[in-house]
Symmetry: C2
Subunit: 422 residues, 2 copies
Amino acid sequence: MSEGNLLYAQSGGVTAVINTTAAAVIETARKQKKIGRVLAAKNGIIGVLREELIDTGAESAEAIHALRHTPGGAFGSCRFKLKSMDEHRPQYERLIDVFRAHDIRWFLYNGGNDSADTSNKLSQIAEAMGYPLRCIGVPKTVDNDLVITDCCPGFGSVAKYTAVSILEASLDVASMHESSTKVFIMEVMGRHAGWIAAAAGLAGNRANEAPHLILFPEVVFDEEKFLAKVKATVESVGWCSIVVSEGVKNTEGKFLSEVGTRDAFGHAQLGGVAPMLADLVKRKLGYKYHWALPDYLQRSARHIASRTDFEQAYAVGKAAVEYAVKGMNAVMPVIKRKSQNPYVWTVEPAALANIANHEKKMPPSFIRADGYGITAAARKYLQPLIEGEAPPPYRPDGLPDYVQLKNKLLKQKLPKYVISDK
Amino acid sequence: MSEGNLLYAQSGGVTAVINTTAAAVIETARKQKKIGRVLAAKNGIIGVLREELIDTGAESAEAIHALRHTPGGAFGSCRFKLKSMDEHRPQYERLIDVFRAHDIRWFLYNGGNDSADTSNKLSQIAEAMGYPLRCIGVPKTVDNDLVITDCCPGFGSVAKYTAVSILEASLDVASMHESSTKVFIMEVMGRHAGWIAAAAGLAGNRANEAPHLILFPEVVFDEEKFLAKVKATVESVGWCSIVVSEGVKNTEGKFLSEVGTRDAFGHAQLGGVAPMLADLVKRKLGYKYHWALPDYLQRSARHIASRTDFEQAYAVGKAAVEYAVKGMNAVMPVIKRKSQNPYVWTVEPAALANIANHEKKMPPSFIRADGYGITAAARKYLQPLIEGEAPPPYRPDGLPDYVQLKNKLLKQKLPKYVISDK
């Protein structure tokens, strides 16, 4: 006998494996007798506020299974932070109204810090309002910035993409450097922490192996030292491969990408610290350069997902449902590293209160003394996260066989709600 | 009994599968009794001029086999165009001197138009000088701009990378558009022809499928029409995914990437038509944007190579050696499409004289009437080229198992030569 329905929502920037977690949630929930319908919010928490709820029961088992290897957020995600309860209590009450109208007893929120905070607050307000709700946070973020968990699903795949991409592009530059490109710069995501930039360091380890320089947001940019390093590398290796985090800042704490240049109309530069550094290298050292900025390609590259990441993304989704039906509340399934070699991990519950609004920084011990590379400690931590492959199936036409869901909306039961402070 | 040695050289921008061709050349040549040593030029034709020749006999069969799945140019490539024979005959004579000194009777030059021209001229000057040399051009270019051949090895893989990347990134944008990015722009290579941009069109076919707009170098950029298309797409689909070729030009025939903006120092913009268009969209339409510029990542992405491309790259290398030992001269193995459905192709010899200095343009019939997409004819041509996968083996640490050759140089026999007009 069903005790009510379960609602799953995706939040924040999507990843190559957030749908893997979604598949795990739906597949696991479908087996639970306690759970009636498995619903998903259209475009995350915005869809809950608007009472735009998707009935995943309309999707076949095959379609849900195919979600495991489909990037993006299948139900839509959003960048929308609820205000504090003091500031905007009606918004929280609206959420509870929607839960009540659709007999939603379990809410699984798949996101990062903000989502953990929202889930935690929702569990409190539900209790205060006397509505029986279990809130589970489900970890997801390419930024790898959640505390307590050893790593965040989504990060391992962007890490693998980054390491493979700089390895491949560096082989290209190595073969062209004699008469063409001498310096290659790839910009990666990571506005506040250098986790993704650090992962690029896995591409090479021995002396003179690419990437030769990594620029972290944790290390203040020193133009003179940077140029000297580039020059020394080109003179000894013949060429230089550089990975730069979008979050690199100058001595005044400003993003390099924002202070560098202005366009013809006086607008701040169109984005990108890579082109700015490339220009600097050209002006000061005269080297021919190329630069790349993969942007969304890096976090949606399901075709080069890490198997570790894929398995962890599935495991947290499965655990979240299991915790929910056990009656656990305001928790998140987190990944614990049980053993380094061989790499063994498990999933455990952790209180949302200890995760919400905290940010995991990259340990200073992960950055090499000269500031331009990673240490053995970083390598030890990062290495297992990119291990193994989990390729999607391919269609006969050569494209990955990604699924498109029907996303059939439930009939609305409540008055229309306008999100006033969006 | 060996009749002499074979020299293989790589030229121009490298690809994901130029080493596949190199592996085919070496593996096929090793089986030929007529061929003594199989040599490779270090950094292409520059290495021949400098008498920097690599003895591939120092490499194990396993290493050569691993070349098949290693991107970049294993022996080094170069951007170096020999002047005309009238202008610089001594350079051609130097090449013949090096061939003579190392008993090189077969020269296989793996490149594009320029290389075909060089091979053709070399065969002529060798004959004029009474030196017995067979010159074979081996096709390679991501630009797909060689005539006679149905397609160029290297193109199919960059085409697949491009289609897969825009498919994945578009799934990302689709899931974020409600509250975040509305317009995504990916810039691809193709300074003179829109082959790579066209390949992105394979990612979607049905109405409203991404990419919604493709900007070709063949179509003059019309700002007003472009903005209207973007606006209409965002209003009907909710978001807009755009692929732009680096070679898009304005009404005055200038590259958009060069005229758009200048930096704070008055330098021409740091490169990239994608950021320029993104800025335009933001200023004129107010949409939040993201843009990507994969640059070398697209042509070195061996991990997502097309199997068709991989097999063709191997086939032309094998055929080149077979033609060489048969005594053919001044020819190139080209790909012929024998059947469309099922896709069947074969390799045939074509005269270098008919290939050198010609450039294959994309047929106007491949571009949709509105100028922003591909036609059924383009789809029919492009589709088979991205079919099938040819993933590299992976190491236990999660990285592709790319090989690094020893590249042992032969002892020099001639006086040092300085390339005067490099």
